[in-house]
């Protein structure tokens, strides 16, 4: 940490847990790569492309959970609308993928996506221009959620809206967006959203290799997001953010512009959620307004609570655990899943305030305690 040279600066935030996390992530990515390509399909060890896609999806969720952890676990702002930013990032990527289809659509229109032809639209709406270029779509993936968070956060934090009131208006935000995106005349495909994607940057989305590559890119993005987030939370700004969470007025009276810090974290977190959404869409092959459902945002909060808020790896572990459980439950006992989810949240809130990772840390410490008592 002392005298760290410039390129190492970003890594200075990594502690022991961070290094372990990156190591596990890299091992997992390499393992998936090997089991999917090098192991023959007949072997029991072979990992199907379906599973690779599932893991890629979970990693996008993990990134979203990290974004929510940053704003909730570290800054104490319970956002119940983060899925909105995730979905906006997804829609921006979806618009690019729709334009990529071109003449291969059902109606074969070189410019208009199928749903526009179906609705008898003659020209492309102004906000669809530029999305035929990947770089433009990729920047919109960050700019649109970031801008929305900037405006929304500026209004909310400046008026000192906090606590449960802020949570409620974030729910209202995502609900309003859902209703808007359901409308056909918004020009985002109404309740069907976007699907039937053909390729991304010329790579065929029906090919296994493309899915494997998308998975690897997502793993790298998750690792990078972790490095950047851990740099932020271990910098002085990170300490200020935690200070705001613990004693907001104290932070204000020692001269911090609390609103600027909150706004900054909120925007960064929204951008991260947007990136996660953009990686999600090509892997699952569909984006529609149901992604804006208020319950989605609440689920993310449950992931973070289960994993352990206030630790970045906790958010990731929580997202993976809950989603693995969901995949199992919804196929084994589909009608029980929502009860299980609710029970999980209640139990974690009551008995594991620091989540699964907190429990793990507690169990690790316990053996030492009797020894100290004897001495």
């Amino acid at each position: 940490m002392l005298n760290s040279s410039r390129p190492m600066l970003l890594l200075s935030g990594l502690d022991r847990h961070g290094k372990t996390f990156l190591l596990v992530l890299a091992t997992l990515a390499i393992l998936v790569l090997l089991l999917n390509t090098a192991v023959p399909a007949s072997s029991v060890l072979h990992l199907s492309t379906y599973t690779v896609g599932l893991l890629g999806k979970y990693m996008c969720y993990a990134m979203l959970a990290m974004a929510v952890d940053l704003i909730w676990g570290y800054c104490g702002i319970l956002s119940l609308g983060h899925s909105a930013f995730f979905a906006l990032g997804g829609y921006a990527m979806g618009m690019y993928l729709m334009r990529e289809i071109g003449t291969r659509g059902v109606y074969g229109d070189p410019v208009l996506p199928d749903f526009m032809v179906f609705l008898n639209w003659k020209t492309l709406p102004w906000y669809w221009h530029g999305f035929n270029m990947f770089w433009f779509a990729a920047s919109m993936v960050m700019i649109v959620p970031g801008l929305l968070a900037l405006v929304f956060g500026w209004l909310a934090f400046r008026s000192r809206v906090t606590g449960v009131y802020l949570s409620i208006i974030t729910q209202a935000l995502t609900y309003a967006l859902m209703l808007a995106f359901f409308r056909n005349d918004m020009g985002f495909g109404g309740n069907n959203g976007f699907t039937d994607f053909k390729d991304i940057l010329g790579f065929d989305l029906t090919r296994d290799a493309t899915h494997l590559t998308l998975f690897l890119i997502t793993a790298v993005a998750l690792g990078l997001a972790y490095v950047v987030c851990s740099y932020i939370v271990s910098s002085r700004a990170g300490r200020v953010i935690k200070a705001i969470r613990d004693a907001e007025s104290r932070a204000r009276f020692i001269g911090f512009r609390v609103e600027s810090y909150k706004l900054w974290v909120f925007v960064f977190s929204a951008v991260l959620a947007g990136i996660a959404g953009s990686l999600y869409v090509p892997q699952v092959g569909i984006i529609n307004p149901s992604e804006f459902q208020p319950v989605n945002s609440i689920e993310v909060v449950i992931w973070v609570a289960v994993g352990g808020r206030g630790t970045l790896y906790g958010a990731v572990v929580g997202a993976l655990l809950v989603n693995l459980a969901q995949t199992y439950f919804t196929s084994a006992f589909p009608e029980l899943w929502l009860y299980a989810l609710g029970a999980m949240f209640v139990l974690v809130t009551l008995f594991l305030p620091k989540g699964v990772m907190g429990l793990a840390a507690q169990l690790k410490r316990r053996p030492q305690r009797p020894a100290a008592g004897v001495a």
Partner: protein, 283 residues
């Protein structure tokens, strides 16, 4: 700016009964320069009135604090002591009156962080430190300087800042516990840490709300020494209920009653004042 204020004074617009002060709004650079206490007065509160739903928490309050002074403010519950601190630090906007920090900074025109940056530090009634941060980090966060987000993202402590931090740790007697979580400190130590945080801000004026509430006699004594050592270099305003403590540190005492200054003077003068005896000391 100062010229304008002198002109105003020359033209006889300011009343001679009061210490002179200007009537112009301070621009941003004045804020950064800190208060101008060249007339010997660091804090001017004049005819301040604050009412909550008809209840007058402060009623035509007028009070001056000299630079370098240690002033004690006493008064029964509801006398307006905390509201007065809220007005000075920008938390509450009064319905009427004026509040100036030195001659150049209009306190009513600035936000809480701006006022803190200009050099007014405040210690709350209940000790408020960042419980999940270490003692060292608490002081680091309180350190004076630009507090913009992007600077905080790349900030590293310089050697000079580290020395300043070590100094303050020494003053508040917490050097040995610097790496402990602030939440693990005793009540008295938290109070000192909070005073230390104020010192890191390099304030000209320290507002200290009930510093010895809940302290042991030894801790109280140590706090008295600490506050006495701070006066002179800083101006200190202490609000306190503990009469023995006030007697041990006070030079000038102001008695508030129903949002108004009832009496002002040395402890002996105040105690001899019949009005004061009636409302407060005689209870």
């Amino acid at each position: 700016m100062n010229m304008r204020s002198s002109l105003q004074r020359l033209s006889g617009r300011s009343r001679s009964a009061k210490p002179p002060r200007p009537l112009v709004i301070a621009p941003e650079d004045v804020l950064a320069a800190g208060p101008d206490a060249s007339h010997g007065v660091i804090l001017y509160l004049e005819e301040i009135t604050v009412s909550f739903d008809g209840f007058k928490a402060l009623n035509d309050l007028t009070l001056y604090v000299q630079a370098g002074e240690l002033r004690c403010i006493i008064g029964p519950n509801g006398a307006g002591k905390t509201t007065m601190m809220d007005v000075i630090t920008g938390k509450t906007r009064p319905d009427g009156g004026s509040a100036w920090f030195g001659q150049s900074i209009d306190l009513l025109a600035h936000t809480e962080p701006e006022i803190a940056q200009a050099g007014i530090g405040r210690k709350f009634q209940k000790p408020t430190v960042f419980e999940h941060h270490s003692v060292f980090e608490n002081l680091e966060l309180a350190m004076a300087g630009d507090k913009a987000v992007w600077l905080a993202l790349v900030a590293r402590l310089t050697g000079e800042q580290r020395d300043h931090l070590d100094n303050v740790l020494e003053v508040i007697g917490l050097s040995a516990r610097r790496f402990e979580r602030a939440g693990a400190l005793s009540h008295g130590q938290k109070q000192w840490l909070e005073i230390g945080m104020l010192l890191m801000q390099d304030p000209r004026l320290l507002l200290v709300d009930e510093p010895v509430a809940g302290m042991t006699p030894q801790e109280t004594e140590r706090t008295a020494e600490l506050l006495l050592s701070l006066a002179g270099k800083h101006s200190v305003v202490v609000v306190e209920h503990d009469m023995n403590f006030v007697r041990s540190i006070a030079r000038t005492v102001t008695v508030l009653h129903e949002g108004h200054v009832l009496a002002e003077g040395t402890m002996d003068e105040v105690q001899a004042n019949q009005k004061v005896v009636e409302v407060y000391l005689g209870e």
